[in-house]
């Protein structure tokens, strides 16, 4: 692999705006950005015609399944999927087996990410031991080895006292606690959004209020403790309102939304396919519209995939027994550009530098495309129309509901630390 890359013919989109520019990368850093750069022999030339050249994408919410569920995904296959989706950095969710609640497990995940070499894999830590919601994980020890985002994702921290203590304890560690907002008592047995469709389909409902109560509780805990909270996969209109109001007050609250919550609704469960079962569930069109509006006005900071691979046989179980979750890394850009009516730069911001800030990786990722900056870059065609071919997915699993749905926007190249991890849509290793 060449140490020198020249990306020619594209439009650069970053924090500084949008401009026509070629980009030369040398020794892991952006060396030159200019309207026209003549190639030299040492250059590996990457064609960016019709494309946007942007800071690499950062996913705040990736389930890589290793250790524990390697039949669904490994850190290597998940990293490959991430690279193909334009990601240079992903935050690995802690609901592995064993849980990412100790230095040894977290270090294992980080090392596996390095070994795969396709993406900067940043392990999150769980807030509580085993994500059991009873006893705090060693937040300080984990922070000391670089863990920045803590969450019990898969579950929310139910106990308000424990969540208060976690925030107070974490307040001076420089980390962020991220919450999967779901009051479990209100979602026992729930399979899909509670509303008209679940009434007809005869499926137990997951009421919006189960999310909103915890969003509200945690916003108030931010007010009380001053420690930041990041709200994962916001899915209801009222949740968006709560976060918008909290931000207007200047509270340290950030939020993300998934590609599927801006594109799909609960009506899709009509055929009882578990591909549409996800947690939080697909909601109604007014919710989808509100989440899109929240992204457009900046209430929601980031698009995060909640990439959740599951082996086929688990998704073939009856709907109430099938695990929730869907793939996201390879389709996030295509779904976002197909469904969001926002300036392109704002979509890129929500995929790149805004999540980079929340993930605590803004020193390396989501940097402006400027000389001297680390060369973590994504080159994508924003108007390319394409469809998912399941067999060609890099992920080990196939549980995407976007098969046969036209997507817009496709990643052409991904550059990690100055080296192409994806070239012309294909992973380099």
């Amino acid at each position: 692999m060449s140490e020198q890359i020249l990306i020619i013919g594209g439009r650069v989109v970053d924090q500084a705006g949008e401009r026509r520019a070629d980009v030369r990368v040398t020794d892991g850093r952006v060396a030159e950005v200019a309207e026209t750069i003549e190639p030299v022999d040492a250059d590996e030339v990457l064609d960016a015609s019709e494309c946007v050249v942007s800071p690499g994408f950062v996913d705040l919410h990736t389930h890589l399944r290793e250790p524990g569920r390697e039949e669904a995904e490994t850190i290597e296959t998940g990293s490959r999927a991430a690279a193909r989706g334009g990601y240079t950095c992903v935050v690995a969710m802690p609901n592995t087996d064993p849980t990412q609640d100790s230095v040894s497990v977290v270090e294992f995940v980080r090392r596996q990410g390095e070994a795969a070499g396709l993406c900067d894999v940043r392990p999150s830590g769980s807030i509580t031991i085993g994500r059991a919601g009873e006893q705090l994980s060693p937040l300080g020890e984990l922070a000391a080895v670089g863990v920045h985002l803590f969450t019990d994702d898969g579950d929310g921290v139910q106990d308000p006292l424990l969540m208060r203590r976690a925030l107070e304890y974490a307040a001076d560690l420089g980390v962020v606690l991220a919450q999967h907002c779901e009051v479990k008592r209100l979602t026992e047995g729930a399979v899909m959004h509670e509303g008209r469709c679940c009434s007809t389909f005869g499926l137990p409902g997951w009421p919006s209020i189960a999310e909103e109560l915890m969003v509200y509780r945690d916003i108030e805990l931010v007010r009380l403790t001053g420690a930041p909270v990041h709200i994962l996969h916001l899915s209801t209109a009222r949740s968006v309102d709560l976060v918008r109001a909290a931000k207007a007050e200047g509270l340290a609250v950030t939020a993300e939304a998934t590609p599927h919550h801006i594109s799909l609704t609960d009506e899709l469960l009509v055929g009882y396919s578990a591909l549409y079962k996800v947690n939080p569930p697909l909601r109604t069109l007014p919710d989808v519209t509100a989440v899109r509006a929240g992204l457009a006005d900046g209430t929601i900071d980031a698009i995060a995939t909640d990439h959740a691979p599951h082996a086929p046989e688990t998704k073939e179980q009856p709907l109430d027994q099938a695990p929730p979750g869907m793939l996201g890394l390879e389709t996030a850009l295509g779904v976002s550009l197909a469904h969001l009516d926002m300036p392109l730069a704002d979509v890129v911001a929500a995929l790149s530098w805004k999540p980079a800030e929340i993930a605590g990786v803004a020193d390396l990722h989501g940097r402006p495309v400027a000389p001297g900056e680390p060369a973590n870059l994504t080159v994508f065609d924003p108007t390319a129309e394409w469809e998912v071919v399941p067999a060609r997915l890099a992920s080990k699993s196939r549980n995407t509901p976007f098969i046969g749905i036209p997507l817009r926007g496709k990643v052409r190249h991904t550059v990690l630390n100055g080296t192409a991890t994806v070239l012309d849509g294909e992973a380099m290793r």
């Binding site: 005869g202 009856p318 709907l319 109430d320």
Partner: protein
């Protein structure tokens, strides 16, 4: 008609056609030798992942009266207990050569999944809280014959009382009764209703009971109390049960229906044997005719319904 998994799958025309066909089947059932060769050579498999006596026996009887071969697969004695997946179970049975699966499962939607794994016809014998379309057909057929309503249910007032939320019978009945033109009212506390309903709701049974043509009581399961859905069965009976006082308030012509099994002393706080309008045993009898109609519609090849030789 490829499958029969919900009332909506066949629509008003399908329901009417099946009810008309059930008339012929009822005629067969009244013969001294109630058996016709219509489905000879066809194989029907009952696949019941949930305990059921009446529905399974009803389908079995229906299949036999049409001369189909019937196999029974019960979960308690099956490979499912050895960890076999639903898909493998279905594909294994299908490989033996099955023309129709009759499926009962505790999870809503299973008949839609099964359809993807087999070429056989799929009949829903009850899925989760979702649907029990042959029960709805037999209920429609019972009303139609008892009240001489061959032309439809326009203007008919039907009250469905009790735990609609957890009831596949209620969901299918509401659809079928409404499609045929009836005015359906649900009588239940908010805790026993789905999040949204498309028909009128009341919590005052006494307000509607004097003006109904059909009073349909749902089974009240004891575990609903521990889930805080009702304070006690005593209170449920007082507010929503058919008590002697309410039985007197019913119009003389009104039918009293129940999908079974009944909880005597709870939703049925009178002896139905003493109620002239009770058609609960007729429901069971009619179940065979409508299930014959469904199987014949799915598997028949236009053969006339002739006497067996």
């Amino acid at each position: 008609m490829r499958h029969f998994r919900s009332i909506d799958e066949v629509g008003t025309d399908g329901v009417t056609r099946l009810l008309d066909l059930a008339d012929h089947m009822a005629e067969v059932n009244r013969r001294p030798n109630p058996k016709v060769p219509a489905l000879r050579g066809k194989t029907v498999c009952n696949v019941f992942f949930e305990d059921s006596t009446r529905t399974r026996l009803s389908f079995e009887t229906a299949a036999k009266r049409l001369s189909a071969d019937i196999m029974n697969f019960g979960v308690s004695s099956s490979s499912v207990n050895k960890g076999e997946s639903l898909r493998d179970t279905i594909e294994t049975i299908a490989a033996m050569g099955v023309d129709a699966f009759v499926i009962r499962h505790g999870s809503s939607g299973v008949p839609w999944q099964v359809e993807q794994w087999t070429d056989a016809a799929v009949v829903n014998a009850g899925d989760g809280w979702h649907a029990h379309p042959t029960q709805a057909l037999l209920d429609c057929y019972t009303i139609r014959t008892a009240l001489h309503r061959t032309g439809g249910f326009d203007g008919l007032k039907i009250a469905i009382v009790g735990d609609v939320k957890h009831s596949r019978v209620a969901r299918s009945d509401i659809r079928a009764f409404t499609l045929l033109g009836a005015d359906v009212t649900l009588v239940a506390p908010r805790t026993l209703l789905p999040p949204t309903v498309d028909v009128p709701v009341t919590t005052d049974l006494d307000d509607v009971i004097g003006d109904v043509d059909v009073l349909y009581l749902l089974r009240m399961q004891r575990e609903r109390m521990t889930e805080s859905l009702v304070p006690s069965l005593r209170e449920y009976t007082a507010r929503f049960g058919l008590t002697p006082a309410r039985a007197v308030a019913l119009p003389e012509h009104a039918l009293i229906m129940h999908p079974g099994p009944m909880n005597r002393g709870v939703e049925m706080a009178v002896d139905p044997g003493e109620l002239p309008g009770a058609v609960i045993t007729q429901q069971v009898t009619n179940g065979i005719a409508v299930r014959m109609a469904v199987l014949f519609e799915l598997l028949g090849s236009g053969t006339e319904l002739e006497d067996d030789e």
